[in-house]
C-alpha cells in the first residue's frame, strides 16, 4: 500500500476537481461519502481511482442527506471523512451539516457552486454563498473558504481538514463549476514536508476501553430539555466561534491606501477583479481590490476599515447580491457608497469589471 501521496513537490496540470481529490489524500483524509451531481463529479471519480491505492474508502450513498450524515458518522468514529456536492445537493447537505454544526463535528464539505435553482447550468455561479455560509436552521457556526485558483483549491482543501479538526466546526471549501472544470498548473506538495502540521483526528464514539467501567460512555445528542439548555449550549458555541474569528478570517487586498474605489469580489470572480484593478491602476486610476477568502467568518474589521478608507465600493459577483449582503452588513455605518455588478449564474470578465469601475468613477475610456 502506498503511504505518501506526494513524494516530492512538483508542478502539475490539472482540473479543479482532481485537485480536490489529491489534496484530500495529501491531508490524509480517510473516507469520502458522495452522491453524483455536476459539477463536482470528478472529485468522486478521482477519489475512487486513487483511494484504493492508498487504503482509503469511498461510499456512493443514496442521496446527499445520506452522504452528509454518513460523513458525520465517519468523523464521529474518528476518521477524516468528507463529502462534496453542489446546487440542490448543497440544499440537502444543509441538514447533516446543521447537525454537524450543533454537535461540533469536523465534517469537511467541498461545494462546487452551480447556477440555480435549475438543472444543467453548471459552470458559472456564486449563488450558493447564502446556503453555504448560513444555510442551516442555526447560526452559521461554520468556516467557509472561497478559493480562486487551483493552488488555493489544493491549499485550502488541506487547510479545511485542519481547521475542522482543530476547532470542531464543519468546514467548507467553496469553489464553483468553472474552477471545477478549468485546467491550470499548480504545485502539489506534502503538507508535512512544508512544515504544515496535520491535526490528529480523535474518535467521538468507539473510544478505547469499556464504557461504564474504564470510562463513562461517550454519548452525544442534539436534543435539549428546555429552551434555556439550548440557549446555553448555543451561546457557548457562539462564544467559541467568536473567539476564533481573528485566527480564522482571511482576506487579500492591494492598493487600498489612496484608492478612491475598492472593488470587492470572491472566488473565481476575484481573478477578473484583480485583472481589472491592475489594468486600471496602470492607467493611473485609483482603484484597489479587497477579497474575502473566508466568507464565514467574514474579515469584518478589515472590511470596515476599507470602507473608511475609500469613497466608493464596487461589489462584483456571479449572484444577485449574496456577497453584497454580507459586505454591506459588515461595513454598515461607514460612509463609502456601495455599487454593484451582479451577474447571477453568468461569468464575469475583467473587461466588464473595468467598464463598471469607469462608469462609477465617471472616467470613460477615450
Amino acid at each position: 500500500m502506498l503511504q505518501k501521496v506526494i513524494q516530492e513537490e512538483k508542478r502539475a496540470f490539472m482540473t479543479g476537481n482532481e485537485v480536490v481529490a489529491w489534496a484530500a489524500l495529501a491531508a490524509r483524509a480517510e473516507i469520502m461519502f458522495g452522491y453524483p451531481i455536476t459539477p463536482q463529479n470528478e472529485i468522486m471519480h478521482y477519489w475512487t481511482r486513487l483511494a484504493p491505492k492508498y487504503g482509503k474508502s469511498f461510499l456512493q450513498t443514496e442521496d446527499e442527506l445520506s452522504a452528509g450524515f454518513a460523513a458525520a458518522g465517519g468523523v464521529m468514529s474518528g476518521r477524516k471523512a468528507f463529502t462534496a456536492t453542489a446546487g440542490t445537493g448543497n440544499i440537502l447537505m444543509q441538514e447533516p451539516l446543521s447537525m454537524a454544526e450543533m454537535m461540533r463535528l469536523p465534517v469537511v464539505a467541498v461545494i462546487q457552486q452551480r447556477g440555480g435553482p435549475s438543472t444543467a447550468t453548471v459552470i458559472y455561479s456564486q449563488q450558493e454563498v447564502n446556503l453555504t455560509t448560513m444555510g442551516g436552521n442555526g447560526e452559521g457556526l461554520r468556516i467557509v473558504y472561497s478559493t480562486a485558483t487551483h493552488q488555493e483549491l489544493y491549499d485550502y482543501t488541506i487547510k479545511a481538514f485542519n481547521t475542522a479538526w482543530k476547532y470542531r466546526f464543519p468546514t467548507f471549501v467553496l469553489g464553483d463549476g468553472y474552477q471545477a472544470k478549468m485546467r491550470e498548473p499548480l504545485t502539489l506538495y506534502d503538507p508535512e514536508a512544508r512544515g504544515i502540521q496535520l491535526v490528529e483526528q480523535e474518535p467521538f464514539v468507539g473510544q478505547k476501553g469499556s464504557p461504564g467501567k474504564d470510562r463513562p460512555p461517550a454519548q452525544y445528542r442534539n436534543t435539549y430539555n428546555l429552551e434555556e439548555e439550548l440557549f446555553e449550549k448555543l451561546m457557548s458555541d457562539v462564544r467559541d466561534y467568536e473567539k476564533i474569528i481573528p485566527e480564522l478570517a482571511e482576506f487579500q487586498s492591494s492598493g487600498v491606501e489612496g484608492a478612491e474605489l475598492a472593488i470587492v469580489g470572491h472566488g473565481v470572480v476575484f481573478r477578473a477583479v484583480r485583472e481589472a484593478v491592475n489594468v486600471l491602476r496602470e492607467q493611473g486610476i485609483k482603484v484597489c481590490y479587497f477579497r474575502p477568502v473566508t466568507l464565514r467568518p467574514l474579515p469584518v474589521p478589515q472590511l470596515k476599515s476599507l470602507a473608511g478608507e475609500v469613497k466608493k465600493i464596487l461589489i462584483v459577483e456571479s449572484a444577485y447580491g449574496q456577497l453584497a449582503r454580507l459586505v454591506t452588513e459588515a461595513v454598515y455605518g461607514a460612509n463609502a457608497e456601495i455599487h454593484t455588478l451582479f451577474k447571477p449564474g453568468v461569468g464575469i470578465t475583467s473587461g466588464e469589471v473595468e467598464a463598471r469601475a469607469r462608469e462609477i468613477l465617471q472616467k470613460p475610456l477615450h
Partner: protein, 221 residues
C-alpha cells in the same frame, strides 16, 4: 487502405483530446481536404466543440456537434449522442472523432457504426505527462492498456503558459518509452506554435512535431 484520414482522439480527462482533434481537422482542411469533426464527448459536450462551431465552419471543417438551440440542459444532461455522430464513419472524406473521457471514454467508439470494420480508423491516445495520472511510463502504460483500442500515442505534454522546451522533450522521452512497451507508434509530439518553432520538425526522440493553435481557450477552457 485508402488515403482517407480517420482518427479518433482518446485519452485521460483533460489530456488535450479536443485540442488535438480540432487542430488535426483544421490542418487537414487547410490542405483542401474534406473534413468532418465529430464531438463524441458524452460527458461534457457543452464544454468542448459547441462554442467553436462557427469558427470551424469558416475554416472549412464540417462539425457534427449539438448546437445550443437543439438541446436542453447540455451542461449536465450531456449523455445524448447526436444521431449524425453515430453514422459519421459513413461520410465521405476525412473523419476526426473527439472522444470524451472517463473509464468508458474509449469504449464510446462502440457507439459509432462501422468503427470495428473501418480499415482506416486510427485510435490515438493523447498523453500529457504533466497530469499526475499519466506522469510516468508505468502510469501511461496502465492507462492505455485499460482503453479498448489504441493504435498510437501523441505526446501532448504541456503546462499551459508554463510550458518549456525541456518539459515537452521530457514528455517525448516518457511517452516514447511507454509506446515501446505498448508496441505502439508515437504519432507526434503536439505542442503550441511558439515552442514547436524552437523544437523544429522532430522532437528529441525523432517523433514528428505537430504545432497546435490553442483553440479550446475560445471554448473557455
Amino acid at each position: 487502405m485508402t488515403d482517407r484520414v480517420v482518427e479518433a482522439y482518446v485519452g485521460e480527462y483533460a489530456a488535450g483530446k479536443s485540442e488535438n482533434a480540432l487542430n488535426r481537422a483544421i490542418g487537414l482542411a487547410g490542405q483542401d481536404r474534406m473534413v468532418t469533426l465529430v464531438d463524441l464527448d458524452l460527458v461534457e459536450p457543452f464544454y468542448t466543440l459547441r462554442p467553436l462551431q462557427k469558427a470551424l465552419s469558416r475554416l472549412g471543417v464540417e462539425v457534427i456537434a449539438w448546437k445550443t438551440e437543439e438541446t436542453l440542459g447540455l451542461g449536465e444532461a450531456g449523455t445524448v449522442i447526436k444521431p449524425a455522430a453515430r453514422w459519421a464513419l459513413r461520410r465521405a472524406g476525412d473523419i476526426i472523432l473527439d472522444i470524451g473521457y472517463g473509464v468508458e471514454g474509449a469504449r464510446t467508439l462502440n457507439l459509432v457504426e462501422g468503427s470495428t470494420a473501418d480499415q482506416d480508423l486510427m485510435v490515438i491516445a493523447v498523453i500529457n505527462c504533466s497530469r499526475p495520472w499519466t506522469s510516468t511510463v508505468e502510469d501511461i502504460v496502465l492507462d492505455v492498456q485499460q482503453m479498448a483500442r489504441v493504435n498510437g500515442l501523441i505526446n501532448n505534454t504541456h503546462m499551459a503558459e508554463e510550458t518549456t522546451v525541456d518539459l515537452v522533450q521530457e514528455g517525448a522521452r516518457t511517452v516514447s518509452n511507454a509506446a515501446k512497451i505498448l508496441g505502439l507508434p508515437v504519432v507526434a509530439t503536439a505542442v503550441c506554435d511558439g515552442i514547436a518553432k524552437k523544437i523544429g520538425h522532430a522532437d528529441c526522440m525523432g517523433n514528428p512535431v505537430r504545432p497546435l493553435q490553442r483553440m479550446m481557450q475560445k471554448a473557455f477552457w
